[in-house]
């Protein structure tokens, strides 16, 4: 029977399929970080359980780590205790930890792929909703809560009900200046933030095939913002070229064997999806969110919508509330909205290609005096690579701060937050109320669009940029 990529991955991981109960699914890789794991390890201790497969479990500290000088002690005692707790737990249970001072440290969804831990065909979980990122490699990867973290630590399995499948087919080529981020925002704008609920999305089509691995990670990363359980892209030559030679990728004969298997990981041409969405990439523009949910998004050439034009009463009230929080007036041109802060970072957009794209825009310009801008590389390895290319100099010379790796102002658990009323062009993934700091106003954009806003002081169509 023809099957989707998702069904093939699912079937390959069934440990047990009882009648009238969830499937017991095997997990190949469990990524752990400091915020959602302490209570899980404590649960193991209380029940006198061990970690079944410490060798399939990898940890790092990313969510609450400072992005300033790492040689100094962490100023926040509660944050410091959480990181100490992760150290103790990894040590007690024999788990590999890429600690703050490790050259491999970084955002968990950046370092997994970068180290070659993420490989096609795997099931990957992490106590973080953006685990969907890893689906870019043809994996089934999804975020879980702390009780499930404990479940996977103890058993390397999870009981799961089978989600439905959705195909997002993107035809044509993305125009110059329109990125994977804009595609993701465009899809969410079309299907809504609950459009993918209960589904695993497979992204396909020419525009997706043409994306680099980093672009694919950006796209899959935002699947959760469409409500989807996971996002995935069938592996191909781009995937294999990215992985070959990475530290934890198979080597020699094991590589050849793995490759033969990975090449089978695709949906059959006559496979059935529960739902199909078609998008024409050639019509997409750079996108900017205007509200407090990623689905509240318009093209850069657009205007803040008028709630009066909403399709129903609930949407109208949601739009009114969002505009009040964002301090925006209906029908304001997006390009007339000024910004105070620019954040280039997060598991969505802090990889080397993101930093290259932003640096290309920034080069030869100064940030607007009213704008405070920062770059937070996704990992220490991304930071080193950027420095080797001189990107840090370009950013610093134009007025950006250049920070250490971590989640930073994407969720503002550390000191990197917006002040009340500040407006930020952010390459992150969530524009929820208060997400980047209480009273802060977040507009989601691509790295190039964020860079352009830092220079001009307002949202600017990067397709018209004069590169220097």
């Amino acid at each position: 029977m023809p099957g989707t990529l998702f069904e093939k991955l699912w079937d390959a991981h069934v440990v047990r399929q009882p009648q009238d109960q969830p499937t017991l699914l095997y997990i190949d890789l469990h990524l752990v970080h400091e915020v959602t794991s302490p209570q899980a390890f404590e649960g193991l201790r209380v029940a006198n359980r061990r970690v079944r497969r410490p060798d399939l479990t990898v940890a790092t500290a990313d969510h609450n780590v400072p992005t300033t000088d790492r040689s100094l002690p962490i100023a926040d005692p509660i944050g410091a205790k959480q990181i100490d707790t992760l150290r103790q737990n990894c040590s007690d249970f024999g788990i590999q930890l890429f600690d703050i001072d490790s050259p491999e440290q970084g955002i968990v969804h950046v370092i997994g792929p970068e180290l070659g831990l993420t490989q096609p065909g795997q099931t990957i979980v992490c106590g973080d909703s953006h685990t969907s990122t890893h689906g870019a490699f043809g994996t089934l990867s999804f975020g879980i809560g702390t009780s499930e973290v404990e479940h996977v630590l103890a058993t390397q399995c999870l009981p799961q009900n089978k989600p439905r499948t959705m195909l997002v087919e993107v035809s044509g080529a993305l125009p110059e200046g329109v990125t994977a981020k804009d595609l993701a925002l465009g899809i969410i704008g079309q299907i809504g933030t609950a459009g993918g609920t209960g589904h695993v999305i497979e992204y396909a089509g020419d525009a997706v095939r043409s994306l680099s691995m980093e672009g694919r990670m950006t796209l899959c990363n935002m699947s959760i913002e469409a409500g989807a359980r996971a996002g995935m892209i069938a592996p191909d030559e781009t995937t294999f070229a990215y992985l070959e030679g990475r530290r934890f990728a198979p080597q020699g004969e094991a590589w050849t064997e793995a490759l033969a298997y990975w090449q089978t990981l695709r949906s059959d041409s006559d496979a059935n999806f529960d739902r199909t969405i078609r998008i024409d990439a050639t019509t997409l523009e750079p996108h900017v969110t205007w509200g407090t949910s990623p689905g509240m998004v318009v093209p850069i050439t657009g205007c803040v919508p008028d709630p009066a034009a909403s399709v129903n009463d609930a949407d109208r009230r949601a739009s009114e509330r969002a505009l009040e929080y964002m301090d925006l007036t209906p029908l304001t041109r997006i390009q007339d909205i000024p910004v105070d802060r620019v954040f280039i970072g997060s598991c969505t957009n802090a990889r080397i290609e993101d930093l290259r794209a932003a640096a290309r825009v920034v080069k030869g310009y100064q940030t607007r005096s009213s704008v405070s801008a920062m770059v937070v590389p996704g990992s220490q390895a991304v930071k080193r690579a950027a420095e080797a290319e001189g990107l840090d100099r370009i950013f610093r010379d134009s007025g950006f701060e250049w920070r250490e790796a971590g989640c930073s102002m994407c969720l503002g658990m550390n000191a990197d937050i917006l002040q009340p009323g500040e407006r930020c062009a952010s390459t992150s993934n969530r524009n929820f109320e208060g997400r980047q700091g209480r009273g802060g106003r977040t507009h989601l954009v691509s790295p190039m669009m964020a860079a352009a806003a830092a220079i001009t002081g307002h949202f600017t169509d990067v397709r018209e940029w004069q590169f220097k």
Binding site: Q39, K81, I144, G145, A318, L411, R435
Partner: protein, 199 residues
């Protein structure tokens, strides 16, 4: 886990769609390493003014809803971050059930692991319940998990759908890790078949 069979309690309406887990429990409270004590931070930015005083216009702060244990709210409740701190905070605050037209996947899963029952009802019915709760002081509902019903004793009666196994686990308050560990031989057999690759 605290078993859930049937619960009768006062309803508090929170009539907003797409309430995300950042609103339910803001990030500054995620640094704690315990599972308990999150209730006081529930909906923090909505319950408290920037200066720390109570925001009395927010439903959960109004005296008439004090002691409510059933939250009735808009569609896509619990979207966003996977933080289990969200159901921990709701349960710690005293909620036993949440009624909404739809829930985000990870959040609904997390609720089930904490004896907090997410009840999905059609949007029109949720709107009716919200109106009833506003119109009647101390408006109560009974959520009966065994019968899969929501009733108010005044004529409102609705059934809801829930996965049989999750219902069973909630009703018995089962430790599902323990259940999985009963199948250790299946897990070992799977690992042996797969060659148990490690990094």
């Amino acid at each position: 886990m605290k078993p859930f069979r049937t619960h009768t309690g006062m309803v508090v309406p929170l009539d907003r769609a797409n309430i995300d887990t950042d609103q339910i429990i803001p990030k500054q409270f995620l640094k704690r390493i315990e599972r308990t004590g999150f209730g006081e931070f529930l909906f923090y930015d909505w319950r408290f003014e920037p200066g720390g005083e109570l925001n009395l216009s927010f439903a959960l702060n109004q005296p008439r809803y004090r002691g409510a244990s059933i939250l009735v709210t808009g569609k896509n409740f619990g979207c966003g971050s996977s933080r289990e701190h969200a159901p921990w905070a709701l349960a710690d605050f005293g909620f036993r059930a949440i009624i909404a037209p739809s829930f985000a996947d990870i959040f609904a899963n997390n609720c089930m692991k904490n004896g907090l029952l997410p009840v999905t009802l059609p949007e029109e019915l949720v709107t009716t319940i919200i109106e009833q709760a506003r119109a009647n002081e101390s408006y109560e509902l009974t959520v009966d998990l065994e019968a899969r019903t929501v009733t108010d004793g005044r004529g409102l009666s609705a059934t809801f759908v829930i996965d049989d196994f999750q219902r069973h686990c909630l009703m018995e308050g089962l430790d599902d890790i323990g259940l999985t560990m009963l199948h250790e031989s299946d897990i070992s057999a799977y690992e042996a078949k797969r060659g148990g690759r490690s990094f």
